[in-house]
Amino acid sequence: MKPGVDPEPRGRRHFLRGGARLMALTGLAGVAGRLAPRTSAQTSVWQIDPLKCVHCSNCATECVLKQSAVKCVHAFAMCGYCELCTGYFEPEPNALTTAAENQLCPTNAIKRTYVEDPYYEYEIDEALCIGCAKCVEGCSRFGNGSMFLQIRHDRCLNCNECAIARSCPAEAISRVPVGHPYRLKTGGH
């Protein structure tokens, strides 16, 4: 006897089963067909819309990863290169130095380097950034808003339901096609 061949006699059950199978296949085909116009060849990833973000710090705490996949990104072309950067310094710093007491960032993730008088460049060290949006709030409130949060796709696991997205008070996180996975600020007045 050949393995795998069903020895059950062709009876009513067999007929019903075949009918059910046909219905199921038709149903699946129907579902697939109806959904065909609503499919996309590209998969989707999650991204923050920086124009909607309210800098609530949930990104730092809600990600399934221990160190959040959300990092601050700096759009240098929008930056004013200020000596007193309100995204870098506490509101009333003791001095404009890199001392920890003067810095906003809780993890010292922003590097301040002198360019020329009176301009300084501020760069984010992603290994240290936790995505807490403190600098983003400072930069957006007083400055040009060149610092903003983005989900970094070399870290993000691309969960089917993003845990940060569902806790975002501004509903700023949504799906974007994998081919354009970032929503960078470009500035514009």
Binding site: G4, H55, R166, P169, V178, G187
Partner: protein
């Protein structure tokens, strides 16, 4: 004339481009303004490769179960699937979760289902419609993980097995309903094994996963049998499968050696004279009674669903925010500045009418969905009761069509199978000879 039109266009284009940004400082030393980096997400080709691997694994699993009939092959394939779909892909996207994406995409106009997700949903079902649950055997990483931690399977009492066996149907209904209304992806949210695959997660979910693994050492595949929503669909598909897993393609000699070889309680006995104890009239009466009770069950379920609709609606973020806003208006609480609560309330206060209007619309949809979910629950219970009343005539020991996960453990417990394969019959696997009575029978059979 055309000249001027072109110039106008050029100026317009220049103006449009120039309008864009206030220039950064003009650095004397020629400092170059850096550009933010944009690390790419996982390449699309790799996502499609996942589908190829899935189909290949399904094909291989089916071949291993039906042609090669090799338990060892299934084990190795399970290990591969655990490594690839489990720890490498971290369990996402998976066939179980794909149910939600389908439901969400069917009702949410703004969401386009990726083809890879559709493939993950359809492929195992199509295979199950022909060959049974070979996906569960060696392709699903959840099943593979549970299979591996199984040490000493205990038999779950029949009433509990059937009782808990309706839970997957509830979960598939709930998963579909909540995803279709855009409230939540519950199946993903409460998946016990994905945090283990990710090696990170909340204490609660990691604990849940660990609990499943610990229970899985003595109760085989607890998630698959009692919780997996996709398993419910595969069970139904498997019932209609063209081929079924058999202990041996050879004749069954009723030696009962395979009776306890299934760690998942899927082995069924032949319906002999004992089953005919109940005379047809009683059974027909019970069946008729249950068929009449079925609509009542559906109705009661629908009512219960309606009662739970407000709680269900609260899962949707719009409704939750609207309720939070109204609660705060009734009894205002001052939240510290810059907390998510304070910011949510500010956003709600910016345009409360639109928020409340859309929350009302969402709540209506969810109420309707809750009716349907409740009715579904009633239908499932009724269907289960009817199924239990329908007599199945069996001549051989064979795995249950819907419950068999094609793990290939039962093959080698059959002496006929061993003879067919040319294997020695004396060396029976220890797991099959669990009871002294069986060992005595084995001694007789020789």
């Amino acid at each position: 004339m055309a000249h001027r039109a072109w110039l106008l266009l050029l100026f317009a284009a220049a103006a449009l481009g120039a309008e864009s940004r206030f220039p950064p400082p003009d650095f004397e030393g020629g400092h170059q303004v850096p550009v933010p980096t944009t690390p790419a997400a996982r390449a699309l080709t790799l996502e499609y490769l996942d589908v190829v691997v899935l189909v290949a694994a399904l094909g291989l699993a089916t071949w291993l179960v039906y042609r090669s009939r090799s338990r060892r092959g299934i084990t190795w394939l399970s290990l591969f699937s655990l490594g690839y779909f489990g720890f490498y892909r971290r369990g996402c996207v998976c066939a179980i979760g794909a149910i939600q994406n389908i439901a969400f995409g069917a009702f949410e106009p703004g969401y386009a289902i990726p083809l890879t997700v559709l493939a993950f949903f359809v492929a195992p079902l199509v295979v199950a419609l022909f060959f049974g649950r070979t996906f569960c055997a060696a392709v699903c990483p959840h099943g593979a993980l549970q299979d591996l931690v199984l040490v000493k399977p205990l038999k779950v009492p029949s009433w509990l097995e059937h009782g808990l066996g309706v839970l997957p149907f509830f979960f598939v209904g709930a998963g579909v309903i909540f995803a279709a209304t855009g409230s939540a992806f519950l199946i993903c949210r409460y998946d016990p094994f994905v945090p283990l695959f990710r090696l990170t997660g909340s204490v609660g979910l990691l604990g849940l996963g660990a609990a499943f693994l610990v229970i899985g050492t003595v109760i085989g595949r607890p998630y698959c049998r009692f919780f997996c929503p996709y398993g419910a669909l595969l069970r139904l598909a498997s019932l209609a499968a063209k081929w079924r897993v058999r202990v041996t393609p050879d004749t069954c000699t009723q030696c009962r050696l395979c009776e306890h070889s299934c760690p998942y309680g899927a082995m069924r006995e032949p319906s002999g004279g004992a089953a005919a104890a109940e005379s047809p009239p009683i059974e027909r009466r019970r069946l008729t009674l249950l068929l009449l009770v079925l609509p009542v069950l559906i109705g009661l379920g629908a009512l219960a669903g309606y009662q739970l609709a407000p709680a269900a609606a609260r899962l949707h973020p719009t409704v939750a925010l609207a309720e939070f806003h109204l609660r705060n208006q009734a009894s205002p609480t001052k939240y510290p500045a810059m907390t998510p609560e304070a910011l949510s309330l500010e956003r709600a206060a910016a345009d409360p009418e639109t928020l409340i209007a859309s929350a009302k619309r969402v709540r209506q949809r969810i109420t309707l969905a809750s009716w349907l979910l409740g009715a579904w629950v009633g239908l499932v219970i009724g269907a289960k009761l009817i199924a239990l009343s329908v007599r199945v005539t069996r001549t051989d020991f064979e795995p249950d069509r819907g419950g068999c996960v094609a793990c290939a453990r039962c093959f080698l417990s059959c002496p006929n199978e061993r003879v067919r394969r040319g294997l020695p019959v004396e060396a029976l696997p220890a797991a099959a000879a669990a009871e002294p009575a069986v060992a005595a029978v084995a001694a007789d059979a020789k």
